[in-house]
């Protein structure tokens, strides 16, 4: 660790090694895919994988920011579920409600995120426990709202998930890539970005240096909450309805791309572009396994092994001495 400045060298703000590792893995996977299936490397298929990666990419973006500060956000799954239910439940087929409800859902995500950050700062409890607790509260609230799928959305609401730009690029996925570039700019080119790395690298030193730790923590959890809300909106756009458990699986799966992309759970190292490649790696892997007619059960095993392989390549910052 050569300090903060070394990490700022690249626009993509991650250590280049992390990006290289995940790029190589992606390339290997692609070559393997081309070798075993002639339908895999078609433009159509690749564009589909790009489109389907949107949800995971959105939630992992926020997760990356919390992990960079040495924290974690285990409430994202519940936030996704509750915003998805709110969006389809309140819009309930009325086109005039779309804009205010979407704005409301984003604000809700922001507020929940700010509450997470605030509780972490005020109590000093580990974010893992805090977000586990708030996640439970939000999930309970979602279930109080409705025990099953609720509401519907007007025609055209699926534009975010299924709309295509000229050339066939998915609108949602491209919007997500732009968000990643903005986050990379925040991390690599702004003072706040440097603070995020500094707090994650050594919170004690960050405090001694007088860095605005409170603002950093509040910012990353607020953003994480907002991206989770955006994921909820995306899922309604994709499936047409919000359900109380629609986001449940995203809590833990949002962590896989983060660590596969080279961001250390201990904090202070990594970056969002690695996460984006990690998302593509996971999506491409699942897509390829589908082509190979591998059962979804074995897909799970493969995903677990990818995590083990990836984290064994990166050496985590020593937790012990």
């Amino acid at each position: 660790m050569n300090g903060v400045s070394a990490k700022m060298g690249s626009f993509f703000s991650g250590p280049r090694t992390g990006l290289l590792v995940v790029l190589c893995l992606l390339l290997l996977l692609f070559i393997f895919g081309v070798a075993v299936s002639d339908r895999f490397a078609t433009t159509r298929n690749i564009l589909n994988v790009y489109e389907q990666s949107t949800g995971l990419a959105l939630v992992s973006l926020g997760q990356t920011l919390t992990v960079l500060t040495g924290g974690i956000d285990l409430s994202v799954g519940s936030v996704i579920s509750v915003t998805a239910m709110m969006v389809s439940g309140l819009i309930n087929g009325d086109p005039s409600m779309v804009t205010p409800v979407i704005a409301g859902a984003l604000v809700l995500g922001l507020l929940i995120g700010a509450a997470n950050g605030g509780i972490v700062i005020l109590t000093g409890v580990h974010p893992l426990i805090v977000t586990l607790g708030t996640g439970a509260v939000i999930q309970g609230a979602a279930l109080l709202y409705s025990l099953g799928p609720i509401g519907k959305v007007p025609k055209g609401f699926d534009y975010f998930a299924y709309g295509r730009l000229p050339g066939g690029l998915s609108i949602g996925a491209t919007f997500t890539v732009i968000l990643f570039l903005l986050a990379a700019f925040l991390l690599g080119r702004t003072r706040m970005g440097r603070y995020i790395y500094a707090v994650g690298d050594d919170p004690h030193a960050a405090t001694l240096m007088g860095l605005p730790k409170t603002r950093v923590i509040l910012l990353v959890y607020t953003l994480s909450g907002m991206f989770a809300a955006l994921t909820g909106i995306y899922l309604v756009s994709r499936f047409g309805v919000g359900q109380p458990y629609t986001g449940a699986n995203y809590t833990l799966s949002s962590i896989t791309p983060v660590v596969v992309g080279g961001t250390m759970l201990a904090g202070g190292r990594g970056g969002v572009m690695g996460t984006l490649l990690g998302v593509y790696l996971v999506s491409l892997l699942n897509n390829l396994l589908n082509f190979l007619d591998v059962s979804t059960h074995i897909q799970l095993v493969a995903q677990g092994l990818v995590i083990i392989a990836a984290v064994s390549v990166y050496v985590e910052k020593r937790r012990i001495a």
Binding site: A136, Q139, I307, V311, S312, I320
Partner: protein
């Protein structure tokens, strides 16, 4: 009854370290038991049926599997780890329990297979954490997913078969109103309580978790202690899975779902610090009891079931923040 036993062990271990104990230490050590008593009293006042023998027996039967997992989780958290794979291990043990012929003659073979499976998972976790320096969260997340996939592949998503009558008896019957599974839990709690609070191994666990550098300086192999803790946790989770399969009777792929987070929450509420080196088994068991009492009380008082998880979430944060305060 379990609580009385837990208190006994707590008193015994407190007696050993009583010299020069400060008020805040006492608060941290016994606050959880006070909280438990208050929770039970409140629930009783709000719903008198809460303390009926049938309900108590019911709660104790729910407590046993969770408590067994919490004991293992405590060992792992004490050495600065955490184990997300316990629920997956439990479900795998339950699937193993139904994979034989469903007769009592299979019971020893099932037990042996489960212990090997749980121990091997713990070993994999421990090696990833110590030798590859993977964070415990990720290492155990990965083994959790792999185990889940293997289980699904083996059962084709739909496990079938019967749990041997012996496990049914252990998991769901009572003797003089005391659930058998609680007796199993009590035996395990005493054995592992002695191992942690009275044996040399336990002192090594606390030294390793409290300060790994010291552990290395005094010539201990911190890595070996850490691996041992993950193995203990895996084996206990497998045992809990067997007990739970006997309680449920029919097995699906998700027996034990939620136990990974509940067990961590129970341990943390019971004063086991995620930063390692602090906490006791009696405390963790009290934490598990509080979780069961709260979930039960919400229903007994007549509140909507959804409030269970809301209450749980709030209590997690409040309890954890109290420990941070006393630790300062």
């Amino acid at each position: 009854m379990a609580i009385a036993k837990a208190n006994e062990i707590a008193n015994a271990s407190a007696g050993g370290a009583a010299a020069g104990m400060r008020l805040s230490d006492i608060g941290r050590k016994y606050g959880i038991f006070l909280f438990l008593i208050v929770a039970i009293l409140t629930a009783t006042i709000a719903a008198p049926a809460f303390l009926s023998p049938a309900n108590i027996s019911n709660m104790l039967m729910q407590l046993a599997p969770l408590a067994i997992v919490v004991i293992g989780q405590t060992f792992v958290i004490l050495v600065r780890g955490l184990d997300l794979s316990v629920a997956s291990v439990m479900a795998t043990a339950a699937v193993i329990a139904t994979s034989f012929h469903g007769q009592d003659s299979d019971a020893p073979a099932i037990l042996a297979t489960c212990i090997v499976m749980g121990g091997a998972t713990g070993l994999a976790n421990g090696i990833l954490v110590t030798k590859r320096n993977v964070s415990p969260f990720l290492a155990t997340l990965a083994t959790m997913i792999v185990l889940q996939g293997l289980r699904f592949a083996a059962t084709q998503g739909a496990p079938s078969g019967n749990v041997p009558p012996l496990y049914r008896l252990l998991g769901s019957s009572t003797v003089f109103g005391v659930p058998y599974n609680l007796l199993v839990m009590a035996v395990l709690a005493i054995v592992f309580g002695i191992l942690l609070h009275r044996a040399a191994f336990g002192r090594r666990v606390y030294i390793t978790g409290g300060n790994p550098v010291t552990a290395r300086l005094v010539g201990m192999s911190a890595d070996r202690i850490i691996v041992a803790c993950y193995v203990i946790c895996g084996v206990l989770a497998a045992s809990a899975g067997l007990i739970l399969s006997g309680f449920v009777g029919v097995v699906d792929n998700f027996v034990g779902r939620g136990f990974e987070l509940d067990s961590i929450v129970a341990a943390v509420m019971g004063g086991v610090a995620l930063s390692g080196g602090r906490g006791t088994i009696p405390g963790a068991l009290a934490g598990a009891t509080i979780l069961v009492v709260l979930s039960n009380a919400v229903v007994m008082v007549g509140m909507p079931v959804q409030l269970q998880i809301i209450v749980k979430g709030i209590v997690i944060i409040v309890a954890a923040s109290l420990y941070v305060r006393t630790a300062r």
